[in-house]
């Protein structure tokens, strides 16, 4: 019984990925390249060596976190499209704390800098949450708008107010060694932390009253109200926690990979999080394989271009196809159970 249920749950994402790769192969072939060779190159660079795996896991780290941020929203019945903005805000705040604050030992400076990332990401999430809870504005609208606002804001901050002296690019000064995330055995330690966090989120939904509250709100708001669960509070919590985790992802990226804040990095991490969360069926543990797959493809795209003469944008294209295949049934179901169903029944006024 459990096995049957398991296979039915994961059938859609697996099929979605396979279909996307198959269509991708046709497109590579049309480009005049060898799809087998291209995929072979992609996967051997991503997973075929220790250095490749290290790179893949490094790329996967912020993706696990942005996937988790989207997942928490989905569980609570919210579609958090603002993970990109929350992540970038966190990346900036952590980098700022990483170079601006002086004289602290690493075991204080690093956590403080990461907390800056969490707090700013959470703050951005909370704005959208509050607009939803108190003004009834749909989170899809507000988070998309906030994304644009934040991208413009950090561009300005990194290009003017906190720009590295003597630099023409928009970027902050380099962070201090005391705020740098060290590697463990040349593997990015942030990844293991992200895995632990994914497990923690899974456990919260599985075993705690807080998880049950959020999930109940996500599945039936009226029943949640009847059961004494505050829908407003749950919306605020889901958006703040999601934003905080996204901000942490940005912080880890700044402090562990890039070493400063530079707006041109970080692009797309939040949007890949949507694909990953949907691939993972809104299961916090389900984001891990999706993040590793997408992280690997992102990391090895340039090498594939070199080996097989395929434009690296083919990776974007395959990921878009994955999203398309995986959302079609998922979103339909999600929409039906929350938005449409509620509208039809409330239209009757009873």
């Amino acid at each position: 019984m459990a096995g049957k249920k398991f296979s039915r749950t994961w059938l859609t994402p697996v099929v979605a990925v396979l279909v996307a790769f198959a269509i991708g192969a046709i497109l590579i072939y049309i480009q005049g390249a060898d799809p087998l060779k291209a995929y072979q190159s992609l996967f051997s660079h991503a997973f075929g060596s220790w250095s490749g795996i290290a790179k893949t896991l490094g790329k996967a780290t912020p993706l696990v976190l942005s996937g988790l941020a989207v997942t928490i929203g989905l569980r609570a019945g919210l579609f958090n499209i603002g993970v990109q903005g929350q992540l970038v805000m966190g990346a900036f705040a952590a980098a700022w704390a990483g170079y601006f604050i002086h004289g602290l030992p690493i075991y204080i400076h690093l956590p403080v800098a990461l907390l800056f990332g969490v707090a700013f990401g959470a703050g951005i999430g909370l704005i959208a949450g509050a607009l939803k809870a108190y003004r009834g504005i749909h989170e899809v609208i507000t988070t998309i708008m906030l994304n644009s606002i934040i991208l413009a804001l950090v561009d300005y901050l990194a290009g003017h107010v906190f720009q590295e002296p003597g630099q023409i690019l928009a970027r902050t000064p380099h962070i201090l060694p005391s705020a740098t995330i060290p590697n463990i055995f040349s593997m990015p330690s942030g990844f293991f932390f992200a895995i632990l966090l994914a497990y923690g989120v899974w456990w919260v939904f599985q075993r705690t009253t807080s998880g049950f509250r959020l999930e109940t709100v996500g599945r039936n708001k009226s029943a949640a109200w009847y059961a004494g669960i505050s829908v407003k509070r749950s919306v605020l919590i889901a958006m703040a926690v999601g934003g905080g985790i996204a901000g942490l992802g940005g912080g880890i990226e700044s402090l562990g990979v890039i070493g400063r804040f530079e707006p041109t990095f970080n692009t797309g991490l939040g949007f890949d999080g949507i694909t990953i969360a949907l691939l993972g069926r809104a299961n916090p543990l389900g984001v891990i394989p999706g993040a590793i797959l997408i992280g690997g493809m992102r990391g090895a795209a340039a090498s594939m271009q070199f080996d097989a003469g395929v434009a690296p944008e083919i990776v974007d294209l395959i990921l878009a196809l994955v999203l398309f295949c995986v959302t079609a049934p998922f979103l339909a179901k999600w929409l039906k159970s929350t938005e449409v169903g509620a509208k039809i029944s409330s239209g009757w006024g009873n």
């Binding site: 705690t208 049950f212 109940t216 039936n220 109200w225 009847y226 004494g228 159970s337 029944s345 239209g347």
Partner: protein
């Protein structure tokens, strides 16, 4: 009389379930045939076969002698079969006329000819004696009138056979009586009527013939002349059902639930409960009888903290309950079986286990601090499934997969299994099969005998009369009379409900 509809030996199996087995039903012109059965007896599957939404495995369906191919979704409609669904398919913001002509509008050029449409609706309404205001907006109309519009919509298409799917589920007793009269008028004018229901009284009142379904088979064919309600009930559930609830004498004690000068608005900000006073003592059932829409829903929601109170208070054992705080009211010992179990009472995608603790999930023993106690949840679910006879393959089954009666048993089990001082039961047996109704009634009586103050709100007058120790008649947002059960005679209560003096 030749048959309009002839269903012969239809069998339909779904994986693991035989929904219909060798079912034969026929309806002639001018005849009312009732299709009677519990929830899950196979009534809906049979109707879906007629409309081609389900393909029978074997058997044939003929309309006016013509064979309808399995899966032919247009065939029945083209041959003059109309359907009135249980859930109305009306546009609330449109007028009566607009709703009736929708999909086949009289036109002048590219515009809708509203004048002709309006005249057509008036003519239609006069022809069948179904009174409607062509210019009223549907959302402003009571449910009974909305249903009349549905019927007119179906009749407009030159219907010879009308199928009504549980049409009285949402109606008040008065509206039900009107509908039954409409059905009789239709039959007199030559229309065949197939009436799907699980209510015995209605079958006895209008049907010419009754086909009783049980577990997908025809359990018997009879007519109201040859049997009575007991006989029908026995056919329907396959055993003797006590229709008259057996209960001992109430031993009421101190007043437990006190409602003082309570005023509440409805969703449209109109006063729905108007300075209402009511007391329910420990160990008694007070039934609130009233035509639906006289403030009963608002009263229940205000008591339970789910709707803001304008003024007045609600006391439980002398202690004031908070406004707009369902959880606190609940933890003061007020159990609430909500009117709309799908919306408020259950999370249909949750397991039975989780639904059984929906409003207690954070209390001992179901949670130790922040962490949910899985063992206690399973123990609780296993015990309640057994105790409340919830028919389910497992406690992990989602509530949405259960039949209406079993869903309601999940709600009842959750609400009555706790230490409770007050039970608020709103429409506790709506859409529930006869076997479950009997069970739920007995549970309410058991709660009373255990010392709870029970407030029963129901649109089923029979339910009130058979369960209540005192009957409070509600009209226009006030309690207009309180009668002892022995004085509450059907006709008298009906007159009081209608706002007439006794």
């Amino acid at each position: 009389m030749s048959a309009l509809l002839e269903i012969t030996n239809v069998t339909k199996t779904f994986p693991g379930v035989v929904a219909n087995e060798n079912i034969s039903v026929s309806v002639a012109a001018g005849e009312i045939v009732a299709l009677l059965g519990e929830n899950g007896a196979g009534k809906s599957t049979l109707v879906k076969s007629v409309f081609g939404m389900v393909r029978p495995d074997s058997g044939e369906i003929r309309i006016k002698g013509e064979l309808i191919a399995p899966g032919d979704t247009g065939g029945a409609i083209a041959r003059g079969v109309g359907m009135v669904h249980q859930h109305f398919q009306l546009v609330p913001v449109m007028t009566v006329t607009e709703n009736i002509i929708l999909g086949d509008e009289p036109k002048r050029g590219i515009f809708i000819n509203m004048k002709a449409a309006r005249a057509e609706v008036i003519a239609l309404s006069e022809k069948y004696g179904l009174e409607v205001d062509p210019d009223a907006f549907v959302e402003d109309l009571p449910v009974g009138t909305q249903q009349r519009i549905e019927i007119l919509k179906a009749l407009r298409k030159d219907v010879d056979l009308l199928i009504l799917d549980e049409p009285t589920a949402v109606l008040t007793p008065q509206e039900t009586d009107e509908l039954l009269q409409v059905m009789k008028n239709l039959a007199t004018s030559g229309v065949g009527v197939l009436f799907i229901t699980h209510k015995l009284r209605e079958v006895m009142a209008v049907a010419d013939r009754v086909v009783v379904l049980r577990n997908g088979r025809v359990a018997g064919s009879t007519s109201p002349r040859e049997t009575d309600e007991e006989g029908l009930a026995q056919l329907m559930v396959g055993r003797n059902v006590v229709l008259q609830v057996e209960k001992g004498e109430a031993k009421p004690e101190a007043s437990t639930l006190e409602i003082k000068a309570l005023s509440v608005n409805d969703d449209r900000k109109h006063l729905a409960v108007d300075g209402l006073n009511l007391e329910v003592r420990a160990g008694e059932i007070v039934g609130v009888a009233g035509v639906e829409g006289n403030g009963q829903r608002e009263l229940v929601e205000a008591i339970c903290g789910m709707r803001p109170r304008l003024s007045g208070e609600v006391l439980v054992s002398g202690e004031a309950t908070p406004d707009m705080h369902p959880h606190k009211v609940h933890s003061m010992g007020v159990s609430h079986i909500p009117e709309d179990r799908e919306k408020h009472g259950l999370v249909s995608s949750y397991s039975i286990e989780d639904n059984l603790v929906l409003n207690q999930f954070d209390r001992d023993p179901f949670a130790k601090g922040w962490i949910r106690n899985v063992a206690a949840l399973e123990e609780n679910a296993t015990r309640l499934v057994e105790e409340f006879d919830i028919r389910t393959p497992s406690i992990k089954t989602t509530a949405g997969a259960l039949s209406g009666g079993n869903k309601q048993k999940v709600v009842v089990a959750r609400e009555l299994s706790q230490d409770t001082r007050v039970v608020i039961a709103a429409q506790p047996t709506r859409g529930v099969d006869v076997g479950s109704i009997e069970f739920i009634h007995n549970q309410l009586i058991a709660a009373r005998d255990a010392g709870a103050a029970v407030l029963l709100v129901s649109a089923e007058l029979d339910e009130i009369l058979s369960l209540a120790d005192r009957v409070a008649v509600m009209s226009g947002g006030k309690i207009v009379a309180i009668l002892d059960a022995k004085d509450a005679e059907r006709g008298l209560v009906g007159r009081l409900m209608a706002g007439l003096s006794a």
